[in-house]
């Protein structure tokens, strides 16, 4: 029982913390598989978080907030697609611009609208995504191990956690087994082949960027209205970049991305647990070391010291018909 007490809460926290990462990393995957690098995951998550919190606070319900978050992220996504696909501008520059715009815009709007120093009002329970109590929790509660696992790890998560987890097999299926997935993959590798097959590269890339935006919006909503209870300035705190790292570590494939996100979630949960813990000989536990681990792992992987990751060949390149 004591082991369960020690293990279950961090595991449940891992799932919770991994959810926005997973959503954003899958977003980056969809976008890059179509050939559009998305450095702007962070910014889209941030506007998603703000819009979700603002609307949830205004309406008192979580679902309208979620929809607003998705729409706000999609607006930024449209800007990104217009810049990268229609105007063939630099994808990295556009993504950075979106991140900076999102930071300034949300801070400005938050102060103007709510006058709380850049926050939204704290959300009441109804305006948030709350942990669900799965059917049968009570019935199983008395069974020694299973009851606890079912109640606090499998159950007891918000709807967005289940949604994010369900998206992993779904996106694997769509990428691998459907017409859309085939075209998406081809588009990120060799857009001219897609074009000459009579398929619009621009339309595919717009679709991919928008899907990515929807996922970012959900990720943002999950930060502000499921994990948290309202918006705070720059509350995504670099998760968009960690998601980018998870996407790279996962080799642009859904299942490995899930693993990477769970690993980062564990690190995050551990870092929270060990905050302020004194270690013999070391002194206070260096939480920053754990927090820096995802970035360090990504650099090491990119350097090719362990394994090799190969991004989609045409990602980052605007599609221009050559003479």
């Amino acid at each position: 029982m004591e082991i369960l007490d020690a293990v279950l809460p961090p595991l449940a926290a891992t799932l919770r913390l991994a959810t926005p990462l997973l959503l954003a990393a899958l977003a980056g995957m969809v976008s890059e598989r179509a050939g559009i690098i998305d450095v702007g995951l962070e910014g889209k998550m941030l506007v998603g978080a703000f819009a979700a919190a603002a609307v949830a606070s205004a309406t008192g319900h979580a679902v309208p907030g979620l929809l607003a978050g998705v729409m706000a992220a999609c607006l930024l996504g449209l800007v990104h697609a217009y810049a990268c696909v229609t105007l063939r501008g630099s994808q990295v520059v556009s993504g950075m611009a979106i991140n900076i715009i999102a930071s300034g815009l949300t801070a400005t709007l938050a102060l103007s609208w709510f006058r709380l120093g850049g926050q939204t009002p704290p959300l009441p329970p109804d305006a948030r995504f709350l942990p669900l109590v799965l059917p049968g929790t009570e019935a199983l509660a008395d069974i020694p191990v299973l009851g606890r696992v079912y109640g606090t790890l499998i159950g007891g998560q918000t709807a967005l956690v289940y949604l994010a987890l369900a998206l992993v097999p779904l996106s694997a299926y769509v990428l691998g087994r459907t017409r859309f997935g085939l075209r998406l993959r081809a588009c990120g590798e060799h857009p001219a082949a897609v074009d000459t097959a009579g398929i619009s590269v621009a339309r595919l890339r717009y679709a991919a960027v928008l899907i990515a935006s929807v996922l970012c919006g959900v990720a943002g909503a999950s930060i502000a209205t499921a994990q948290g209870a309202g918006f705070q300035r720059d509350m995504t705190a670099g998760r968009g970049y960690i998601a980018l790292a998870a996407m790279i570590l996962g080799g642009w494939r859904p299942w490995p991305i899930l693993l990477a996100c769970l690993a980062f979630g564990v690190l995050d949960a551990v870092a929270i647990r060990l905050q302020g813990v004194e270690l013999p000989g070391v002194g206070q536990f260096p939480v920053q070391a754990v927090q820096a681990l995802p970035y360090l792992l990504t650099v090491i992987l990119l350097a090719g010291f362990v394994g090799r990751t190969v991004p989609p060949r045409a990602s980052g390149l605007p599609y221009i018909k050559e003479r």
Binding site: Y82, A83, Y295, T298, V299
Partner: protein
């Protein structure tokens, strides 16, 4: 594509387009203010007066512009070699560590030695923090955009750890070191006769010198020629026998050293101690500055001045109009990056048409 490789007159490219992009960014910001029930005229006036309306305001504008000139040059010089350095923020962070380590440990030295040593310490760590991604790009093929992003976070984590756990001033509640020795202070320009209470200091002159040096190096030396060849095409550089690994690592080191100017201006010139978050996003502003300045030192200086004014004006604006935070300047910066960088092709065709008609 089928469009003719038409070009715009130089003055349009260098002056009109950046101004149009800025105007667009300001227009969108003004619309946003209208939408939130604020008067954009009042706000923009506050912005202008706050940045240029007094000697103090101008002093602060120059002080902020100094930071942006350094990071703008850092981004621009890497861009000339075709490298997108998003890591100026992290490089400036590491430079701050270098500056502080020298300033705290060699404080017995006289100012004439201590200041240059501290600057060297900052430049060294800044250069190192940029050269590693450069090396990874050159030797291992790791995408420099991603590695520099990751290094920003690595540098930030390291700084937090060291300041909070190791370098913190004994007994201090806030995460900062003790004050550096007075010998490590860069002279303020006010001490040289500038009638301003702003902490604008000798680092401003250093930034101007750095811009001149970058111009000479990139446009007037064979090494700079090779750098620009590499920026245009790595294939051509290979044919021409330019050592691309070396050039990549060197230019990134140079870029990081330039970014270290932020640490010099902030820590030696104004704060006189190492504290968290002193880089204040200048590394990212540097991207906007470089893009708007066409990656040319002269353009970078002008753009830095503009963004310095925006930052100072934004602070005043937040003070004057309580419902508008100073972060609105971040929004304007982001919009300029968007218009000048990513949407750079939006206005061009229309301008070409207008110019073509006018020319006929």
């Amino acid at each position: 594509m089928s469009a003719a490789p038409a070009t715009l007159p130089r003055w349009v490219d260098l002056a009109l387009l950046p101004l149009l992009n800025l105007a667009l960014a300001l227009a969108i910001t003004a619309l946003l203010m209208l939408a939130t029930g604020n008067d954009p005229i009042v706000a923009l006036t506050a912005l202008a007066v706050g940045s240029l309306g007094s000697a103090d305001a101008i002093g602060y504008t120059l002080y902020y512009a100094t930071n942006m000139a350094f990071t703008g040059l850092a981004v621009a010089v890497a861009f000339q070699g075709g490298l997108f350095n998003i890591g100026a923020e992290g490089q400036a962070t590491m430079a701050g560590l270098g500056v502080a380590l020298v300033a705290l440990n060699l404080e017995a030295l006289p100012a004439a030695l201590l200041v240059p040593m501290a600057m060297l310490g900052g430049a060294g760590l800044g250069a190192g923090c940029a050269a590693i991604p450069g090396w990874l790009q050159a030797r291992r093929g790791s995408h420099i955009v991603i590695t520099t992003i990751m290094f920003n976070f690595l540098a930030a984590s390291l700084l937090v750890y060291l300041v909070v756990n190791v370098l913190i001033a004994p007994g201090s509640m806030s995460p900062e070191t003790r004050r550096f020795a007075a010998a490590a202070d860069l002279p303020l320009l006010s001490s040289l006769g500038l009638p301003s209470s702003a902490p604008v200091n000798l680092a401003l002159l250093l930034a101007l010198l750095a811009a001149a040096a970058v111009w000479l190096l990139v446009w007037r030396t064979p090494w700079g020629y090779g750098l620009r060849v590499m920026g245009q095409s790595t294939e051509v550089a290979r044919y021409a026998g330019i050592d691309q690994e070396r050039t990549t690592i060197l230019v990134m080191a140079l870029s990081g050293a330039l970014a270290s100017g932020v640490a010099v201006n902030e820590l030696l010139g104004a704060q006189h101690r190492l504290l968290l978050g002193f880089t204040g996003g200048y590394g990212f502003t540097g991207i906007a500055v470089a893009l708007m300045g066409h990656n040319h030192p002269a353009g970078v200086l002008l753009a830095a001045l503009l963004f310095g004014a925006l930052t100072q004006g934004g602070a005043e604006l937040a003070f004057e109009v309580p419902d508008v935070p100073s972060e609105i300047v971040v929004l304007i910066q982001g919009l300029v990056i968007l218009f000048a960088g990513a949407l750079g092709n939006m206005l061009r065709p229309a301008l070409l048409r207008v110019m073509g008609r006018a020319g006929r």
